[in-house]
Amino acid sequence: MSDTPNNTEGDAQAPTLEPPTGSADGSLDAAERRRVHDIWVAGTEEPDWIANATDEGAQELLPRDMDPALQIQRGIAVDDDFVDEPIVVEDERQILNMGPQHPATHGVLRLHLELDGETIRRVKPIIGYLHTGMEKTAENLTYMQGGTNVTRMDYLSPLNNELCYALAVEQLLGVEIPPRAQAIRILMTELNRIASHLIWVATFGMDIGALSMMIYGFRDREAILAFFEKVTGLRMNHNYIRPGGVAADLPEGWEEDIDGIFDIVGSGLDDYVDLLNRNPIFLDRTRGVGVLTPEEAQAYGVTGPAARASGVNFDLRKAFPYSGIEQYEFDVPLGKHGDTLDRYLVRMEEMRQSLRIVQQVLETMPPGDYRTDDRKVTPPPRKRIDESMEALIHHFKLFTEGFKAPAGEVYQAVESPRGELGMHLVSKGGSKPWRLHARTPSFAIVQALPVMLTDQIVPDVIATLASLDPVLGDVDR
């Protein structure tokens, strides 16, 4: 096929495709695999070392004698509970590719599973199918615009992302937020937590065969999304929590809306408990499945409900309180076994605790301003723009150039529904961040998947993955 110039160029490179230096059996070490890809130019002779390889490039499942690269895939880097398999003939192991278009992967997660019969021996998670370079994008958006970017990372809990970003920017600026804005932020993020967990219980139920849960979860979440739409104008990706406060005050009659949410979600939670908690099929599918020990959770950076189900008593809302959440009473539910059932129970209880917080916010909502009166970050009120040229210019400058943040480097973390969501923000004094790194909880969860999945059977992959609730937009960013 060397009839076009491009291909002859390829032909010239083709002879260099010889077995790369590595271990004796032709496996490559990591540095080598960064450069060499298992492709060759069409029309040339297929190099013989390629015959047994897959075309996965760097993502291939490595030969099994390549320790310690395999430790993560076997999940033995921290706790060696790996069942040493009896000698199996190579032919009897098979590699199963799951995803990225598998509905039970909740997005575009891809898993290489090495199977021995029905038992999973090794797992390799492959991510990146949803990578859109949001960290790079953030460097080209002003602090004012950044909220629209971060809100799209974890699309099931956009308000938590906005809150984290806003808090990080406010740390750089040193701006104090009025109590009403803080209370609104807590109200919205806790409602968002409930909405996110409702989606989770819907998909979790569906993945393990309780199909009605799908309908119920989405039905109840709709009440919260309707409230979000009333407050922010959008059902998702709100850009409502902004540096300096929130975008708008709560609308008239918001208390009645919250009461309505209490009725719907509160009674819904009771129904789910009746449906699931003593259901023998549900218990069989979840009990003892996908166990994560506390040591493993800490070593792999798994936080949030997944870690608390393993008994790790850590909640950022208690440990490093933000936005005035320390004034509300709530409990942190903990699990004992770290299995799928515990993760279910912890999340169900978290929803009740979030409702408790929302109830307290409802009772104690302070009066006052919904954003800071620091004119450096807050645009002038709409009325002033009609009266004063300076206010108009100020408004214009704020939304075109944005405000400048003093040089510095901050790390701010909030408890998102999936765990610790952190933003590492570096400023060099300009109106755009020099660097924004998002430490997302789902990334750590995907990394810890091999720990939970090895020595399980294939159906348990679905149950475990669903109980962990990774959001792939959050993983890849």
Partner: protein, 188 residues
Amino acid sequence: MTEETTAQEEPQETDEAAEETIPRVLPDDPILARLAEPFPNVVFTSFEPLAGARQDTAIVSRGELIAFVEAVKDAGFETFIDVCSVDHLNRKPRYDVVINLLSMQHTKRLIVKVGVPGDDPTVQSISPIYAGANFYEREVWDLMGIVFEGHPDLTRIVLPDEWEGHPLRKDYSVGSVPVQFKGSHKSS
């Protein structure tokens, strides 16, 4: 905070000056003070822009990184949180690798920063100490091009294998869509 930290990235040059001017101040936190004692070259800074949001940072040289991170783990920082990188472009050293560790038992966070020069972007991997650093270091390699020595499987993670360059570097062009008439006033 940043002036102090940037000044001390090259220990062989700045050490004498630093010793002459300011005597070494141990961090006021007891855990960090104990941690700081055996490492005279590690600089601790504390930054508290708002009440209750204190942030402790330790700036380590590349040679001391592994020993220091091991000491940090022994001091009770059992939870791995994050590894990320910052490209400062015109600073020397050019990159920072930022390791974020958490102690749940002491409710304390510590950020460990390592300066990495632009002409030799390598640093020791901490994944043998914290297993969770594995994917994070792969991400840093992928997007910033910093090589972690001793990493078991340092391959691209979010970008395709065939990708050229490391997009989060500041000298990596973001690309643009050609716009009509943009240079017309010059060409005419």
